[in-house]
C-alpha cells in the first residue's frame, strides 16, 4: 500500500506519507505479533517422551504420534469427571473389599473365613515380615493412596479450583503407578483356589466380588492417568 502511494500519488504531501507509513508499520507490527502469537499458541512445540524428537503440536488432532518412534505423544484421554467417578466408586468398594471374607475354606467340619487383612496378618507372623509389608504396600496401601489422592486432587479441579498441595499429590500419584498390583492379586487368589480345590472345599465369599470391583476400578484409574490432562486442568482452574 505504501509502495502504491509512493509510486502513483506523487502529489500527496510528504508528511501524510510519513504518518501513513508509521501507522501502517505499527499496525503491521501489531498484526504480525498477533498472528505469530496465535500461530505459536496453536502450534506449540512438543517433545517425544521416548526418543526426544522435537515436533509441532497440532491442536486439531486428537492424538499425535511421534514420526520417528511411533510413541503416541498425545493421547485422547477421558475427562476428569471420569477419573473422579472411578475414585469415588473405588472408595465405596474399598472397605468392604478389605473386611469382608474373600475365600472360605472348609476342611472336615471346621470352616475358616479369610479376609484380605487377616491374610496379611497371618503372613506377617510367618517369619518374613518384610515380605508381608511389601505385599501390604502393593495390594492395600498403594491402591488406597491412589484412590484418596485422586479424590483430593480431582474434586477441586472439577470445581475449577486449585488444590492446595497439588505438587505433592501429583508426585505421590506419579510414583505410585508402578506399585499398584491388585490385578495380580486377583489372579493369585484364582491360582491358590485351584491349588486347594484338590484337597478341600473352597467357597467364595462376598468380599471377592468387592475385591474384583476394586481391582478393576483401580486398573481403569491408572489406565486413564495422564499428566498432561491434570496439569491442563490445573492451569484452567482459578
Amino acid at each position: 500500500m505504501i509502495i502504491l502511494l509512493n509510486n502513483i500519488n506523487l502529489n500527496v504531501p510528504n508528511y501524510f506519507l510519513v504518518e501513513c507509513k508509521n501507522v501502517y508499520l505499527c499496525v503491521s507490527d501489531y498484526l504480525i505479533l498477533v498472528f505469530t502469537g496465535i500461530i505459536y499458541f496453536m502450534n506449540e512445540i512438543l517433545c517425544c517422551q521416548s526418543c526426544g524428537l522435537m515436533m509441532q503440536d497440532d491442536v486439531n488432532a486428537h492424538r499425535i504420534k511421534c514420526p520417528r518412534c511411533y510413541t503416541s505423544v498425545r493421547k485422547k484421554s477421558f475427562p476428569i469427571e471420569h477419573d473422579l467417578g472411578l475414585s469415588i466408586a473405588g472408595l465405596i468398594v474399598f472397605f468392604p473389599a478389605m473386611t469382608l471374607p474373600i475365600i472360605s475354606f472348609k476342611l472336615g467340619e471346621s470352616v475358616q473365613h479369610d479376609t484380605m487383612l487377616s491374610a496379611l496378618s497371618y503372613f506377617y507372623e510367618d517369619g518374613y515380615p518384610l515380605l508381608s509389608l511389601l505385599v501390604f504396600f502393593t495390594s492395600v496401601l498403594a491402591p488406597f493412596l491412589q484412590i484418596i489422592i485422586s479424590l483430593f486432587m480431582l474434586t477441586p479441579l472439577y470445581e475449577k479450583r486449585k488444590p492446595r498441595f497439588m505438587k505433592t499429590y501429583f508426585k505421590v500419584l506419579y510414583h505410585l503407578q508402578e506399585w499398584i498390583m491388585l490385578d495380580v492379586y486377583v489372579i493369585a487368589i484364582l491360582v491358590s483356589v485351584i491349588k486347594l480345590t484338590a484337597t478341600s472345599d473352597v467357597l467364595y465369599g462376598s468380599g471377592l466380588i468387592m475385591f474384583v470391583l476394586l481391582s478393576s476400578f483401580s486398573f481403569l484409574l491408572s489406565r486413564s492417568f495422564s499428566p498432561q490432562k491434570i496439569w491442563r486442568a490445573y492451569h484452567n482452574a482459578k
Binding site: I45, L46, C47, Q49, S50, C51, G52, L53, M54, R68, C69, Y70, T71, I103, F105, L107, S110, Q112, D114, S118, A119, L120, Y122, F123, D126, G127, Y128, L130, L131, S132, L134, V135, T138, S139, K167, F170, K171, Y174, E178, W179, M181, V184, Y185, I187, A188, I189, V191, S192, I194, K195, L196, A198, V202, P227, Q228, W231
Partner: protein, 200 residues
C-alpha cells in the same frame, strides 16, 4: 529430525512441559529438571546386575515349606510348576511358569540387551527396542504373582495339626529381585538409544 539436546531444551518427566536447560526446576510442577534421567546407564546396569545376583538363590532355595504329620516337603519354584503339570492343571502351571520364571528372565535379558546397544551406540531397529522396553514396563509387576500365592497359601492352610505352610528363604530373594528389576526398568531412559555419540 532433531532432538531436544540440539535445541537445548529439557522435557519434564512429570508433566511433559518443555523448558530451557538453564532452568533448574520445571516452572509448572517444580520438579528438578533433567535432560535425561540422571546416571541412567550405570544405575540400570547396577540394579539389573544385583537382580541377577538375587535370581540364583531364588531358584536354588525352597520357596515354600509344607509340614504335615506325614511328611515334610520343601518345594522350589520349579517344583511348584511341575506339581501343576503332573496334576493336569496345564493352564495354571503355564501362568505360574510365565510369571515366576519366564517374565523375570525375559526382563533381565531385555535390560542387558538394551544396555549393550546403548553402550555400542547401535542404530539397528531402535523402534523395536523401545517397544521391548514398553513391554517389560507393563509385564514387570506380574512376577509378583508367586509371592501373593504363597501369602494366600499360608493363610488358607491354617490347620495347625494337619498341615502347615511356611515361607522359604527363596521367597524373600525372589521378591527382592522383582523390586530391583522394577527399579531398573524405571531408571532406564529410552532416549539414550537415539542420542548421538558426541552428545553423551
Amino acid at each position: 529430525m532433531q532432538n531436544d539436546i540440539d535445541f537445548k531444551q529439557a522435557l519434564c518427566q512429570h508433566c511433559y512441559h518443555l523448558s530451557p536447560v538453564s532452568l533448574d526446576e520445571c516452572p509448572v510442577c517444580e520438579e528438578v529438571l533433567h535432560q535425561r534421567k540422571p546416571n541412567s546407564y550405570i544405575r540400570t546396569l547396577a540394579l539389573s546386575l544385583s537382580a541377577l545376583f538375587f535370581f540364583i538363590p531364588a531358584n536354588i532355595y525352597p520357596i515354600m515349606k509344607t509340614v504335615s504329620f506325614i511328611d515334610y516337603q520343601n518345594s522350589t519354584i520349579m517344583d511348584g510348576i511341575f506339581y501343576f503339570f503332573e496334576h493336569g492343571e496345564f493352564f495354571v502351571g503355564t501362568v505360574i511358569f510365565m510369571a515366576s520364571v519366564f517374565v523375570p528372565v525375559l526382563k533381565l535379558v531385555i535390560l542387558f540387551y538394551l544396555l549393550l546397544s546403548v553402550r555400542n551406540h547401535s542404530t539397528w531397529r531402535r523402534v523395536q527396542k523401545k517397544n521391548l522396553y514398553k513391554m517389560i514396563h507393563v509385564i514387570g509387576k506380574w512376577s509378583m504373582l508367586d509371592i501373593f500365592v504363597i501369602g494366600l497359601m499360608i493363610t488358607l492352610v491354617q490347620f495347625g495339626e494337619l498341615a502347615e505352610v511356611t515361607t522359604g528363604f527363596a521367597a524373600l530373594s525372589f521378591a527382592t529381585m522383582v523390586v530391583l528389576t522394577i527399579f531398573a526398568t524405571e531408571s532406564f531412559d529410552t532416549r539414550l538409544l537415539w542420542d548421538k555419540k558426541e552428545d553423551v
